[in-house]
């Protein structure tokens, strides 16, 4: 299967197989006014299988958010058909407004205007905890 290469846009590569749809939804790519291609289960020398997302326009993305969903991802920025930037993502120290705390005893459960903030507490195990009540983040 072939997907046209893009002239100006973003290629989100090395997504863990099966995670592309989750990333698509979290990044709200359905709202983007451009072609977006979602490739699942592509053969990969490095990962065996991987997913890829191609976005046919240049736009600001939340790098921390992408890193949180899957730190193994690489993001390529393409301008005039040439890759001008390659970003290797990593787990962000803090994530804001992405995950909602599920602890019914947390202050955020009653004061819903409070920002949802999670801090990275264990990088090896990808554990984030609510800044207010220390409950583990669940997507």
């Amino acid at each position: 299967m072939t997907i046209d290469s893009i002239r100006n846009g973003i290629v989100i590569d090395h997504i863990t197989a099966g995670k592309a749809m989750q990333l698509y939804q979290i990044l709200k790519l359905d709202k983007v006014d451009a072609s977006v291609a979602l490739l699942n289960n592509v053969s990969s020398g490095k990962l065996g299988r991987k997913d890829i997302i191609k976005i046919d326009t240049l736009l600001e993305l939340d790098w921390d958010l992408i890193g949180y969903v899957d730190p193994s991802i690489t993001v390529n920025i393409i301008k005039d058909g040439v890759r001008v930037e390659k970003r290797q993502l990593k787990l962000p120290e803090v994530i804001r407004g992405v995950v909602k705390c599920k602890n019914p005893r947390c202050i955020t459960s009653v004061e819903q205007e409070l920002p949802q903030i999670f801090d990275l507490t264990d990088a090896a195990k990808h554990v984030y905890r609510c800044r207010y009540c220390e409950t583990k983040a669940e997507m």
Binding site: N103, P104, R105, C106, I107, T108, S109, V110, E111, E113, L114, T121, D122, R129, C130, R131, Y132, C133, E134, T135, K136
Partner: protein, 304 residues
């Protein structure tokens, strides 16, 4: 240091300073009687408390300061739906320092993010209770003379017991600490507490359900109450509330210099017959609570 939300904000050196100041206040109360003249402490208790609130108020009054506040959410604007942030912005205009208890976890942190006045967490749900931990530490210091090489048994509700979580965090930083965690299956220490403080620091620990089996090993026995207010289900509370009851009989195999602590209030988990045992330190602990809060208020106000 502007606010105290979590005991782990304090280094062991800062804890040592607070313990030293608390000890000096005990020895020379007159020296501190007017240190807070003209200062106001607001005690905002969105959840009922006897000891902690009175202890804070007594501490401030003993320093020459004044106190204002409320003792339950129904007598505050929270009952009208006001947010913690708005309440605290208001109170910050009336007081120099704030002590706050709230049933929701993280509420004192929210408060501290919305005022320039120091906020002291006086207990947030089942989460943290740093001034109880400071009280526990001052008590341990006076009863044992040191913090190192102690086997600390924590018994009862280790899941929702915020004082337990804070004490584990604090004691995990001292050399030679060992923990014996005694609880029913349903009330075990949360995994984050174990991961963050015990396992990360390679501290030896045991998780058991039998208090009597653990007793001979302990230097400190920290008893806790199974708290009705932490259960969403009354049946679970009734099933678990009498899991552990400390009696003189159960203390027969305990060390002669065991220190028995309890954050109080107790219901029936320590028989009154234990109160006369010299190892029962929980009423002395209440007294230490006032002095360490005096030390904390002075420190946060920069008057130490």
């Amino acid at each position: 240091m502007r606010s105290l939300i979590d005991i782990m904000q304090l280094t062991t050196a800062e804890i040592d300073e607070l313990v030293a100041l608390g000890s000096d206040i005990i020895a020379n109360p007159e020296k501190y009687a007017h240190k807070c003249d003209g200062k106001i402490l607001a005690t905002l208790f969105f959840e009922p408390s006897t000891r902690t609130r009175l202890s804070f108020e007594s501490a401030m009054l003993s320093l020459g300061g004044k106190v204002l506040g409320f003792s339950e959410a129904s007598s505050s604007s929270a009952a009208k739906g006001e947010s913690v942030a708005d309440t605290i912005r208001t109170v910050g205009c009336y007081a120099d320092i704030i002590a706050m208890r709230h049933p929701k976890e993280g509420a004192p942190l929210v408060a501290s993010m919305n005022t320039s006045v120091p906020v002291i967490n006086a207990g947030d749900g089942g989460h943290n209770h740093p001034t109880q931990t400071l009280t526990d530490l001052l008590t341990i210091h006076h009863e044992k003379g040191h913090f190192d090489n102690l086997t600390v048994g924590l018994c009862g509700d280790l899941k929702f017991g915020r004082t337990v979580h804070s004490l584990i965090a604090a004691m995990s930083r001292y050399t030679g600490t060992k923990f014996v965690l005694i609880s029913p299956e349903e009330l075990k220490v949360p995994s984050y507490v174990k991961e963050t403080y015990i396992k990360k620091n390679n501290i030896p620990y045991e998780q058991v359900t039998d208090l009597e089996e653990a007793m001979p090993k302990l230097d400190i026995l920290y008893m806790t109450r199974v708290q009705r207010e932490r259960f969403f289900n009354e049946e679970d509370y009734l099933r678990l509330k009498d899991s552990y009851i400390l009696t003189p009989d159960k203390l027969k195999t305990a060390k002669k210099d065991l220190t028995i602590l309890h954050p109080l209030p107790r219901v029936n988990e320590i028989s009154v017959a234990v109160d006369d045992d010299p190892r029962a330190a929980y009423f002395r602990q209440v007294r230490y609570g006032r002095f360490i809060r005096m030390a904390l208020i002075l420190t946060l106000l920069g008057l130490n």
